[in-house]
């Protein structure tokens, strides 16, 4: 059962390794020309999910559909799904050109030598490796290897490309550039990408849609801004790495935490009671000031300069570290005295409250 627009769909896929469930009844669908980011901590099953879709692993239960066809039992080389590996997995004994042409030269489809050469050159030009064709893959840089891996996959013109943390092995600068290139390539070629990543910034920046995976289950799916502003569970908020999270007790519309009891007008249903405030929603006041909203006394420890913003670290009386982000576009950061107490305050309606009695 697949919809017209879905390029692939997995249905109730379960996969265990020695009794541990890497995937637990995962159902997921992606449309044509969609860029889907899969975010999850290591061990959340995201790589296993890609490997099941690619056909490198067989699921214990569930079905995999691709272009309207049940491919659960189709071997990997007959699926027509591209896969870009975290370590790139280039063929070390071949040149850049031979790597890119490999699928066309050795696949079951018979493609003429002329066409192979032509398509190989076109895709090498596209990823910007012109002039490197005859180098060995050990004679090029990390970023260039990544592009060979991508070119090798794209030249086969797959309708679905699985990316297994392909930017993880690159330095931050290159990662940013490759991110832009990936987006551009995709818009040119009309391919559906399924991108696994452990980096929340990458997931939010790249995906049309972000899927958050935890312990083999999908815990939220949505547009990046939706996930960012409305995490559905404390775990999602935690993975986004953008929230200060306080444990406490939610009862009758009030949240009792380390900052006293605060009214919580709306709460999201969750298994535990958690009060989450985004890093950039906190304001710092002198300890003597009287705050309008809820307030928490904390000691300033240190700061970290992040380029476009400054992250300030405070410690509460019970030893919890609270992070306060100051965007530099809002003006020069204030200077805080180390080991001095300050008052952290926020507007209660900007907090996200999770609790057993939430809706």
């Amino acid at each position: 059962m697949t919809t017209q627009t879905a390029i692939f769909r997995i249905d109730g896929v379960t996969k265990s390794y020695g009794g541990v469930k890497a995937l637990d009844a995962v159902t997921l669908e992606a449309g044509v020309n969609e860029y889907l980011s899969l975010l999850g901590p290591s061990g959340s099953g995201k790589t296993t999910l890609l490997r099941v879709i690619a056909g490198f692993e067989a699921p214990d239960a569930g079905r995999v559909y691709f272009q309207g066809r049940d491919i659960t039992n189709v071997p990997a080389h007959e699926r027509g799904i591209g896969f870009v590996f975290q370590n790139f997995a280039l063929f070390p004994h071949l040149t850049v050109r031979q790597n890119v042409a490999f699928g066309m030269a050795n696949g079951s489809e018979s493609i003429s030598a002329d066409e192979t050469a032509q398509r190989t050159q076109a895709v090498i030009d596209m990823v910007g490796l012109t002039g490197m064709e005859d180098r060995g893959v050990d004679q090029i840089s990390g970023g260039q290897r990544q592009r060979v891996a991508l070119a090798r996959t794209l030249v086969m013109q797959p309708k679905l490309v699985l990316l297994d943390e392909p930017l993880g092995a690159l330095d931050a600068n290159l990662r940013g550039r490759m991110r832009n290139e990936l987006r551009a390539i995709r818009e040119r070629m009309g391919v559906t990408f399924l991108h696994v990543t452990g980096s929340e910034t990458e997931a939010l920046a790249m995906g049309d849609s972000v899927v958050v995976l935890d312990r083999g289950r999908i815990i939220q799916r949505g547009a990046p801004d939706d996930i960012y502003s409305n995490p559905q569970s404390p775990d999602v908020a935690h993975f986004l790495n953008r929230f200060n999270m306080f444990d406490g007790v939610l009862s009758a519309g009030n949240f009792a935490g380390p900052f006293g009891t605060v009214a919580a007008a709306k709460a999201t249903r969750a298994l535990r009671d958690v009060y989450a405030i985004r890093y950039d929603r906190l304001r710092v006041l002198p300890v003597s000031a009287s705050a309008e909203g809820p307030a928490l006394k904390a000691t300033y420890i240190a700061n970290e300069y992040l380029g476009s913003s400054v992250m300030n670290f405070f410690e509460t009386t019970d030893g919890k570290v609270v992070e306060v982000e100051h965007h530099l576009s809002l003006g020069a950061p204030e200077i805080y005295e180390p080991r001095q107490d300050y008052l952290l305050t926020w507007a209660p309606e900007q907090a996200i409250v999770f609790g057993r009695e939430g809706k």
């Binding site: 056909g55 997995a89 070390p92 004994h93 050795n106 050990d138």
Partner: protein
């Protein structure tokens, strides 16, 4: 302090080791240049000559010492070693490939294979000859029964070499090939095999040399005189009288082995480049 004692001791040990390793060969090498046909297999050298080398190739006038009956045995041994090398290496690669995935009873199968190199050769040879004579009633030949024992003996070596190589092999390059639409068999030929080739070369070298000078298994498993392999033929000449022609022949076979090793070394050197590339790739991972 420690190194002042330890280092000279180790140095002495190494010298002694090399002496024991090459000493006998060195002595044989000298004696092979003994005067002939009257010079015996002992010092002193009455006169330096290449008589015994010429005698092996039948370039000397007939004398009371018969030429070594090794011509056909040598051919037999070379063919047998080649057959064994090909068979054992193919089996070794295939079985090591199978062991990349755990399967039921893999532990038992592993020990059954490795047993082939543990079991005393005389027993294998004797057992094979009894089996051939009394159970199956087939005639023993160097290319049948002896061949089988040689494979049983060298296959575990090839298997272990390939197992070690494939253990370090990163399977993601194979998966990459599959995801490009290349069938598993073609992937093996175009990706896996070129990358494990250094290991295959080592397995081949092991199988060939082990088979070439294999004695106890051939002794029983090969048939009569017309089935003698080289080690058997040489042994046969010992029982009569020893002449320096055996030493000369020993020097020649050793040179042949060195030639073989050189070919191995050259081929290995060529594939080191490849291995270095592989190592680079592992670093990224």
């Amino acid at each position: 302090m420690e190194s002042r004692v330890l280092k000279p001791m180790l140095a002495v040990y190494v010298v002694a080791f090399i002496l024991f390793l090459y000493g006998p060969f060195f002595v044989l090498g000298i004696l092979s240049f003994q005067q002939g046909p009257d010079g015996g297999p002992q010092f002193p050298i009455t006169e330096w000559s290449t008589y015994w080398y010429r005698q092996i190739f039948g370039l000397t006038p007939p004398s009371r010492i018969a030429p070594l009956p090794v011509g056909e045995a040598l051919i037999r041994s070379l063919i047998l070693a080649f057959m064994t090398m090909v068979t054992s290496t193919v089996l070794g690669v295939m079985s090591a490939q199978a062991f990349r995935r755990k399967f039921r009873g893999s532990g038992v199968v592993f020990y059954l294979i490795v047993l082939g190199m543990m079991v005393p050769g005389v027993l294998t040879g004797l057992g094979t000859s009894l089996l051939a004579n009394n159970v199956f009633d087939i005639t023993r030949h160097w290319y049948t029964t002896a061949f089988a024992t040689h494979v049983a003996y060298t296959f575990p070596f090839a298997f272990l070499v390939m197992l070690a190589i494939l253990n370090r092999f990163d399977g993601s390059v194979e998966e990459a090939a599959w995801s490009l639409g290349v069938s598993p068999w073609k992937t093996f030929r175009k990706v896996t095999f070129p990358l494990i080739f250094p290991g295959v070369l080592s397995a081949m070298l092991f199988a060939f040399t082990l088979s070439f000078d294999e004695f106890p298994r051939s002794l029983f498993a090969a048939g009569g005189t017309e089935d003698q392999t080289l080690p058997l033929a040489i042994y046969g000449t010992f029982s009569v009288e020893i002449h320096p022609n055996i030493f000369a022949f020993g020097v020649l076979t050793t040179l042949f082995s060195f030639a073989l090793l050189s070919v191995y070394g050259i081929l290995m050197g060529l594939s080191v480049r490849r291995a270095r590339k592989l190592a680079m790739q592992e670093e990224i991972a």
